[in-house]
């Protein structure tokens, strides 16, 4: 005496049971972290979450789920051609889902909305801009083949190269030199927490005229925002500033990014696995027969579960 279902179906349901625990752990942890983080980022300007993209993907998955049940029904009445066609449509829709997801991922990557990349307060935002400008300086000096292990040695080589080069290369070296100057200025003010309105003379800030206990005005995020915007608008520096992000602190942005990519990433992985399951049926072509009925049914159960997970991810990540 056993359960009145095929072993393969029982196996799939047991597997789905583990999947319920798997995704509940992610979604539950996300909810708990969000509840415990006052000021969690939910503004699309911060998160670059697009409701239309999530809604469209929901529609795509629901449609694919509908096609799967139609295919399963067609298998039941031995209309294998119809079943193959609808599984083909499902496969195409899953490609569409991943395409939209990739577009969303591209948006986040281009805005550096990535785990451990996001500045969460003013200090981190200023440091991040400084570090990014430094990365550009180092990368550009390496690209131009400037010799030296320390940055100071490369600066010396840069000045020598400016005296030797001509044409477009010379223009690029001049731009790099100007960019490096902007970086050094920001670095100096960042390190000593001195407002950009105070000029350094020979790399030092004059504090001699300050009354006892007084200090120079501090560097502010707004100043750095204006400074970065100025460099981005400078035609000479614009190309070099392309990989420097605007300083924009997002409290709990890293937790958001971690949970977002964890949940949507594992969900996308499940979509890919579903595509493989359907792809194996589609590879049968005209040889598809009733021997594949259980496979189609179990793959369908799996696909509906993938749809179920997205049904909850959509409101949690895109709307609330």
């Amino acid at each position: 005496m056993g359960l009145p279902i095929p072993n393969s179906k029982l196996g799939m349901w047991l597997f789905l049971g583990t999947e319920i625990m798997f995704f509940t752990a992610f979604i539950g942890a996300y909810l708990v972290l969000r509840i415990g983080s006052p000021g969690w980022p939910d503004d699309p300007k911060d998160t670059h979450i697009h409701v239309w993209a999530g809604g469209l993907n929901t529609f795509v998955l629901i449609t694919s789920s509908f096609f799967v049940v139609v295919a399963h029904e067609a298998m039941g009445v031995k209309n294998f051609k119809k079943a193959w066609n609808f599984l083909g449509f499902t496969f195409l829709l899953s490609c569409g889902f991943l395409g939209i997801k990739s577009y969303e991922y591209y948006g986040k990557i281009s805005h550096d909305i990535l785990p451990s990349h996001i500045a969460e307060n003013d200090e981190q935002a200023i440091n991040k801009v400084t570090d990014e400008m430094e990365d550009v300086v180092k990368a550009e000096m390496t690209r131009h083949g400037l010799k030296g292990t320390a940055l100071e040695d490369k600066r010396t080589a840069l000045q020598a190269a400016i005296g030797e080069q001509k044409g477009e290369t010379l223009l690029q070296l001049h731009a790099l030199d100007a960019f490096d100057g902007k970086f050094v200025k920001l670095k100096r003010h960042t390190r000593e927490n001195v407002s950009l309105s105070i000029a350094a003379v020979d790399g030092k800030f004059d504090r001699t005229a300050l009354p006892a206990g007084a200090r120079l005005p501090s560097l502010t995020l707004h100043e750095v925002e204006v400074y970065v915007a100025d460099q981005k608008n400078d035609p000479q520096l614009k190309p070099l500033m392309s990989s420097v992000h605007n300083p924009h602190p997002i409290p709990y942005g890293n937790l958001f990014a971690s949970t977002y990519f964890l949940m949507t990433g594992f969900h996308a992985l499940h979509v890919v696995i579903g595509m493989i399951l359907f792809g194996m049926v589609l590879m049968q072509g005209s040889k598809l027969d009733s021997g594949w009925s259980d496979w189609v049914e179990n793959s369908g159960l799996y696909w509906h579960f993938v749809d179920l997970v997205w049904i909850f991810l959509f409101p949690l990540l895109y709307i609330i």
Partner: protein
């Protein structure tokens, strides 16, 4: 054998599909109208999500037509799945202590302590000024 379970029950899947699309549209509408009360928004969109999930499970996954084994198999799983969120809730979700994390500091403090690249501008690290 699988046909015995699904094939004997005639469900108009297109109607279910239409209901699911309508529910999705409702979720988007709730976002577009910008409901100010967050709790109301959560109740509405999660209510719609639960309704959609029930439709998918009941009809697309044919649980409506399965025997009671579905409860035996799924109920313990669902109960155990709540373990991690419930375990994390007291410490992480509902803090019983004062929170002091960098995200709560919205002003610049101690700039200059991070001097990992100080030598790169040709100067030695200096003691930073601190904001009050």
């Amino acid at each position: 054998m699988s046909d015995e379970h699904a094939g004997h029950h005639h469900v108009n899947y297109f109607i279910i599909f239409g209901i699911l699309c309508f529910c999705t549209l409702m979720s988007v509408v709730f976002d577009v109208v910008e409901i100010e009360n967050k709790i109301v928004l959560v109740i509405l969109v999660m209510g719609v999500a639960v309704a959609k999930a029930l439709f998918v499970m009941t009809y697309f996954m044919h649980l409506k037509f399965e025997g009671n084994w579905k409860f035996v198999l799924l109920a313990p799983t669902c109960a155990l799945a709540m373990g991690l969120p419930l375990a994390l809730l007291p410490d992480v979700g509902v803090h019983y202590y004062t929170q002091d994390v960098p995200q709560m500091h919205d002003t610049v403090t101690k700039h200059g302590e991070k001097t990992a690249h100080a030598e790169e501008v040709g100067e030695s690290p200096k003691t930073p000024e601190k904001k009050h």
